[in-house]
């Protein structure tokens, strides 16, 4: 906790620095300030109330009461004529972590782009998103079950290729360190996991786009179940498919929009190409409607099926599903308020949650992907 306070103080100093930096181009040392990186801070605060005294289910990273969900310090700048660097440090009430630190090429030919460092792994639509741009306060059940609440972030190299085709066809191949705890934690240093993703986005007139994507990741892993096998003989494999339609009429581009989105994910363990576990799978479907300049109405249904080895007791439900509804008030690009209700079916019990989230950004924050 003390560490967090000192780091928060440091952020305050760093974030306040550029305002003074504008007054002169260089410091007293004669070193130029003109090349300082863009710095931004995003804050997420929430209130949660549950009908259960001990909130349960997969989504237990959100606790009752008022809390800091995340404070994100983002720094970005071109390194030189060839590389851009991005760094994101995440502070929560329990932890401080380097969420991202990576280099992106800006001069590669043949429609190629390489990224090296710790990144939000580009698996599907939800996983690469930073927390403050999630459409709902909690991630979908299946994403949280497979990748964890914050999503799958890993250190490695990703090379993507934008095919010179009439529509957007982006192919990414990546190799990661295998540090992901729930997926590729083989226990053997030096093990790598791989990822291939395909992302298609087709423009339908000037108002709409259709996105169809697929992702597949694999790597050596330690099996979580009772039958402990040697990791070198065991693979963890995840695949996903995603679909999205976005509509935003150009004439009303600031007041009307509709997003329909769905993802399916499945995770299995294999040994010698034979499945040794039930699949862990699930999906979500959601609709987001911007109904005026400042208001969004949102709904999501998500479902999760868990394998035997994850069930801790007979009461532990194999199937979980949840319905969520939210109203978002977005007065400017730099602040947003969300009120969300969700009902999580845990077999014989239902957990109902009411949540309120405050989201703000200060500083120069880079644009988010479409």
């Amino acid at each position: 906790m003390k560490k967090s306070i000192w780091l928060l103080l440091l952020i305050g100093i760093v974030a306040g620095f550029p305002a003074h930096a504008q007054q002169s181009d260089s410091t007293i040392t004669g070193i130029s300030r003109a090349f300082n990186p863009a710095i931004s801070v995003n804050g997420l605060l929430y209130y949660m109330n549950s009908n259960l005294a001990e909130p349960s289910g997969v989504a237990d990273d959100i606790e009752p009461g008022i809390h800091l969900q995340e404070l994100e310090l983002a720094v970005t700048s071109n390194v030189d004529a060839y590389l851009k660097a991005d760094a994101t440090i995440s502070f929560t009430e329990k932890d401080v972590s380097v969420e991202n630190i990576y280099l992106t090429t800006i001069q590669l030919p043949l429609y190629l782009q390489a990224r090296i460092g710790k990144i939000n792994v580009p698996f599907g639509i939800q996983n690469p998103m930073h927390t403050h741009v999630w459409p709902f306060i909690e991630p979908p059940l299946i994403n949280e079950a497979i990748f964890g609440f914050e999503g799958w972030k890993d250190t490695g190299v990703a090379i993507s290729w934008l095919a010179p085709l009439p529509w957007y066809f982006n192919l990414t191949a990546a190799g990661f360190n295998g540090g992901e705890e729930t997926l590729f934690n083989s226990g053997h240093k030096g093990d790598m996991d791989g990822l291939v993703t395909v992302d298609n986005v087709i423009a339908i007139g000037n108002s709409s786009t259709l996105r169809l994507g697929g992702s597949y990741a694999w790597g050596p892993a330690a099996f979580e179940g009772d039958s402990i096998l040697e990791p070198k003989n065991l693979d963890s494999q995840v695949w996903g498919a995603d679909f999205q339609i976005k509509w935003r009429p150009p004439k009303l581009s600031r007041s009307r929009a509709l997003v329909l989105q769905a993802e399916y994910l499945e995770h299995k363990y294999f040994s010698a190409n034979q499945s040794i576990s039930d699949p862990e799978n699930g999906y979500y479907v959601m609709a987001l409607a911007q109904v005026s300049r400042f208001f969004w109405l949102q709904g999501r249904y998500d479902s999760l099926r868990r394998p035997d080895y994850q069930l801790e007791s007979d009461d532990d439900p194999r199937f979980q599903d949840r319905g969520s509804g939210a109203v978002a008030f977005v007065p400017t690009e730099f602040q947003a308020y969300k009120v969300q209700y969700s009902s999580l079916n845990l077999g014989g019990r239902t957990e109902q949650r009411v949540m309120v989230q405050v989201n703000f950004t200060i500083g120069s924050h880079p644009a988010h992907a479409y």
């Binding site: 305002a19 504008q22 071109n78 004529a81 851009k84 992106t104 800006i106 001069q107 590669l108 030919p109 043949l110 429609y111 190629l112 782009q113 290729w161 934008l162 095919a163 010179p164 085709l165 009439p166 529509w167 957007y168 982006n170 192919l171 191949a173 791989g194 291939v196 992302d199 986005v201 423009a203 000037n206 786009t209 935003r248 150009p250 004439k251 581009s253 600031r254 007041s255 300049r293 400017t332 690009e333 730099f334 200060i362 880079p366 644009a367 988010h368 992907a369 479409y370």
Partner: protein
């Protein structure tokens, strides 16, 4: 399927597409402009030697474009990117340029042209400390300079020089095309100034700070904005201030661009005060029949004169 097979298939697709790309490369320069006015200027100078496309449509608010993947495809094939600058496109263009993977158009490359470099005067450049409590202000000054046709001529000259640099074999044509455009525009500017002489000194309210350069050119007096601060809708006190201002100054016209948000606020203000709300195209293509940059001024000035005449 093993990894070698997957890699082989991916490599084949890659090589096939790379070959397709090279073979289908057109001889014309591919010019991508962020705004339709800039695209119109590039067409006027480049004519048959260029293929020109615009990312924003004339009916779209250029501050708030989404970084659509289809724009990345367009930019990936560009030989030249022409952008407005003064941070108008800061919310979407840097990401698009990065993800287009086109080294020709990255900042500082030959194929990246900041149109605002042509200007010799930038309005409303903030002095002193600024922050977001002042609304969506642009630290480098008001970026809505294209509604002054004199700026359009300057930018066309800049485009001429850039096209000549990228495509020296057609430099003579770019020179001729620019000369013809400049001559036509100078004639039109004289004509518009003559037509709009009666507008000089006329007090108007504008929705957003997008008509400052237009007013500066024709001598209109903008006495207030519907927005309380740039990008911030009016609160009750500001609305009352506007009503009092319109009544006390006998303001007849409220100007808005057809992509401004919350136009209903301006409509109510007009209804409460008896002023005329003119919802005008903010760019080329903003209304049917406005197919190029000069036609934009034909349309706007005709509408203003009609509203002024009706208000007398």
């Amino acid at each position: 399927m093993n990894c070698k097979k997957i890699f082989g298939i991916l490599l084949s697709v890659f090589l096939a597409c790379a070959g397709f790309s090279t073979a289908s490369a057109a001889k014309k320069l591919n010019v991508v402009a962020t705004l339709p006015d800039l695209a119109s200027l590039a067409r006027a100078v480049g004519k048959d030697h260029v293929n020109v496309s615009s990312l924003a449509l004339g009916v779209q608010d250029p501050h708030y474009l989404e970084a659509k993947p289809s724009y990345e495809i367009t930019l990936s094939k560009a030989d030249l990117l022409i952008y407005n600058g003064l941070q108008l496109e800061v919310g979407w263009l840097p990401l698009l340029v990065q993800d287009s993977r086109n080294p020709k158009i990255v900042a500082g490359a030959k194929g990246s042209l900041n149109a605002s470099a042509a200007l010799d005067r930038i309005l409303e450049k903030p002095t002193g400390e600024i922050d977001r409590s002042m609304g969506d202000i642009h630290p480098e000054g008001n970026p809505h300079y294209l509604p002054d046709p004199r700026n359009g001529v300057k930018i066309a000259r800049l485009i001429r020089d850039k096209l000549s640099e990228l495509d020296p074999s057609n430099a003579d044509d770019y020179k001729k095309n620019y000369a013809a455009f400049e001559s036509m525009m100078n004639e039109k500017i004289r004509q518009w100034e003559s037509q709009a002489a009666s507008l000089k000194g006329m007090k108007v309210i504008t929705y957003h700070k997008e008509w400052e350069y237009f007013a500066d050119w024709l001598g209109l007096d903008i006495t207030g904005n519907v927005e309380e601060k740039p990008g911030i809708p009016p609160g009750p006190q500001h609305k009352q201030w506007l009503i009092d201002k319109i009544k006390s100054d006998k303001i007849k016209i409220i100007m808005a661009a057809n992509f401004d948000p919350s136009i209903s606020t301006a409509e109510k203000l007009a209804a409460d005060t008896g002023a005329t709300l003119l919802i005008l195209p903010g760019a080329t293509g903003g209304e049917p029949g406005i197919d190029d940059y000069p036609q934009l001024f034909d349309y706007i000035i005709a509408k203003l004169l009609a509203a002024e005449g009706a208000g007398k």
